[in-house]
Symmetry: C2
Subunit: 499 residues, 2 copies
């Protein structure tokens, strides 16, 4: 390794250490920080973000990147130089005034959004969203893009992805999902959810969550599970991965599937390559790939019949009163009920992606100027009717439901659906590589799947881009087919439908 | 406020924000961090310490200090410039190689100390302590000092204190304590401790701790209480103060007095002046003053008869089985038993400072070259016999018991005794200013004392130096008389002795 590259890696480790502090501060803010600590925390996080930016764009590091770009590197070195170059170029192109104005606007816009949602009054949020969209367009112009302007924003969450490539995949998905939802709805079959809505003492829910995480192979020596209002997975390094969940005493799925979901994220983080720790090559590759890991565990494993073949008896032992009369088929149906609903975060596996596609389309239209912010509520409601057959009675249950846009997260939503598509494609491949996978899951042996994910996906870090990784692991480009096949196989059978 | 001073304060806020991150990382390391996170945490903390040093000694801040020193400032501005100048000069005088060598030696020395204490073999630690002492002397030579070389080390923990000033006060204290301990021991009166050694369910101990903290006025909206192996008070700002405690199911005093002690530290932090937050003027003034706040609450309040007049009935309600037959006098005697013992952290109020004086004297002798490291165990044991009449059977119970020297904390020990002396002097003054103080405490009304401490001490931040503060609050210079009078009044009565 050249002395130049060694110096470069030292600088990356410094960035990683600043990221370590920022990761802990974010986690703490949502878990243990006392309320009055918020103001100083916000300031301190701002200072660290500023320091991170300063170090990332420091002339010394810029010069190192320039030298190393000429050095014909291979392997991790090439990945690290490419990624730092990408992040650095992006940061260098954004004038400080724009970054500060965007940050302040997002902060105030988020406050405005809270008030607007409470009052279900989009007009209160509209001027802020107009300003945010305008600033985001400025950002896109500054950082530059090929093809759609939207790509400049998408790149922040799903590096190297392009709207031109994902739009047709999403369109294919929509073309299949809308009629599938209609068919399911038309059956009138709504497996009773009552079984999940009983009293489930939180102490036993905690035991259950800990047990499932342990079975998944989540390492509590290198991680934690805590409480948070909005569950997430955070942490400071692969050796310190922090999951959060929340418990509701009268609704089991919230904590159970939430914990499995975050556990999927956590396994990805713990499985990142140790030998590239603290450099881009050792980090997760994209939000879409991250979400594929959580959704694969939550839905494809956690809501499968095989999974409940093993866990329902365990669940009955924890909750004998609630579940003694519930058989596998009834429980499996209960955790897989499909019903068009207004709120994305409560949506089932089949309808969920329609919520996302709607947002993706509207985001693109906003950025390309084809929908004005003022027209957004109506556009939202129309598409809800078109895709899911229901119309929000007010904007709190419609366009105001998600926090993302108020925080400037434009370009983020598609990573959720990408995650579902990646997950189905990976899960399909896992079945090819592990012919006994269903039987293993039905015996509670989750290790083989975890090991497969570790080897094929987690240990690859960011050594391949998301689309390269999908092709490397599955031998095929991203396609909606795997997910659609998965849905038809599972829900066709549950609802007695054939394709 | 001049533009120069404004820029200076911006730089101080950046330092405070880095300190915020460091404070959280330290707290987390002792409370929630999973074990495997330790290595990356150590590296990240090293990086942040390096950044702090870089910013503190940055040419821009050096130039700002130089400009402001010529500006004849007053008030907080004068304090801030003086304190940053002091910290900066100290840092600038220490070559990076020395700082790194010291840090590494302390780290390895601490590991060696752990092994040496386990095996009770001082020889394993001796070469490390020799190196640490040699490096600390180099530090002293570099930063410079007036009078004793020891002053250069003391200054890090008790700014502006001088060995020449505290040595006579400590000598006076020792001259009184040694015969007092002898007289108490000679009475043969050892109030039974059995009452404290029963089973006390931890859940109730937690309730008790929370209640006492609330009564003391510790604000849980701006703080927390968590578990830690070695209790401490940490945090990130006056709005986010984190206490820790530990519970033993068969020994009540550990958590109870530990929580009150840390609560005293916590009240100081929460009471620091908001308008000087994030600058030296708004920070605590010295470790000695900090310790005065914890010891005042722990011993002078928490171990007083007045306190137990109010709390014993509450304690009985929580632990009816254990305490129904115990009256106030018996309980008061039990929490105030005096007995010479080997371990500092378990020592009672009367013998405690003799443990400290011994360490202070040996530290001075080590630095001045009057005792060699190799002679330390024997010197330790001799003085233990001289001061407390007992001789450690081995070095684990003697010279190897404390972690401080292995971590390079030479000059730290005297702040414990300074804290006790300050506490007694403050508590005396509080009685002058609040004639009903005893009666208030006996009614569980701790607010007036808290308010007095807030106004007289906490809200002063570092606007006065420790010795100035003592004189400002009590009208007198630091003296051992207050503490000795306090001991005689309390323990003379308990043990039936007169002066």
């Amino acid at each position: 390794m050249s002395r130049t590259y060694e110096t470069f890696v030292e600088r990356l480790h410094e960035l990683a250490d600043l990221g370590h502090a920022q990761g802990l501060m974010s986690w703490d803010q949502e878990t243990y920080m006392p309320p009055r600590g918020a103001a100083m925390r916000a300031r301190a996080m701002g200072t660290l973000a500023g320091l991170y930016h300063e170090r990332l764009t420091a002339p010394e590091l810029v010069a190192l990147v320039a030298d190393l770009k000429d050095a014909e590197l291979t392997g991790d070195a090439a990945v690290n130089v490419r990624e730092i170059d990408r992040q650095q170029s992006r940061s260098l192109k954004l004038p400080k005034e724009l970054v500060v104005e965007l940050s302040q606007t997002e902060s105030l816009g988020h406050e405005a959004w809270i008030g607007a949602r409470e009052k279900s009054d989009f007009a209160l949020f509209q001027p802020w969203l107009e300003k945010i969209v305008a600033l985001k367009k400025q950002v896109a112009e500054r950082v530059g893009y090929e093809g759609a302007m939207y790509n400049a924003l998408l790149d922040e969450y799903e590096p190297y992805a392009r709207a031109e490539e994902i739009a047709p995949v999403f369109a294919q998905l929509k073309a299949q999902l809308v009629p599938l939802v209609e068919q399911i709805t038309a059956t009138g079959l709504y497996p009773a959810r009552g079984v999940l809505d009983q009293e489930y003492p939180i102490e036993q829910q905690e035991l259950l969550g800990q047990q499932v995480l342990a079975d998944m192979g989540f390492d509590m020596e290198a991680g934690r599970l805590d409480l948070a209002v909005h569950p997430f997975c955070a942490g400071t390094s692969r050796d310190d991965v922090r999951l959060t969940t929340r418990y509701s005493a009268d609704w089991l799925p919230g904590s159970l599937f939430g914990t499995i979901h975050e556990g999927g994220h956590g396994l990805y983080e713990q499985g990142l390559p140790a030998d590239a720790s603290g450099t881009p090559a050792g980090a997760s590759v994209s939000l879409g790939i991250h979400e594929s890991q959580s959704r694969l565990w939550e839905n494809m494993v956690g809501r499968s019949k095989a999974f409940w073949t093993h866990y329902l008896p365990k669940l009955r032992a924890l909750f004998p009163q609630q579940l003694s009369a519930v058989d596998l088929d009834a429980f499996y149906a209960a955790v897989n009920q499909v019903e068009p609903s207004l709120i994305r975060v409560e949506a089932d596996e089949v309808t969920y992606n329609l919520h996302i596609l709607l947002r993706f389309e509207l985001e693109c239209d906003l950025i390309e100027g084809q929908v004005a912010v003022a027209e957004l509520p109506e556009a939202w409601n129309e598409r809800m009717e078109q895709y899911l057959g229901i119309r929000p009675p007010d904007d709190a249950l419609g366009v105001l439901q998600d926090t993302h846009w108020s925080c400037g997260l434009l370009g983020y939503f598609p990573t959720y659906t990408l995650g579902n598509l990646y997950a189905a494609q990976f899960f399909y491949q896992a079945h090819q590589d592990l012919p006994d996978l269903e039987a293993q899951i039905a015996q509670g042996a989750l290790g083989p799947l975890k090991d497969w994910l570790n080897e094929k996906i987690h240990a690859r870090g960011a050594r391949a881009t998301a689309s390269e990784l999908v092709e490397e692991v599955t031998g095929a480009k991203l396609s909606a087919d795997y997910f659609i096949d998965y849905l038809w196989e599972k829900f066709g059978s549950l609802y007695g439908l054939s394709r």
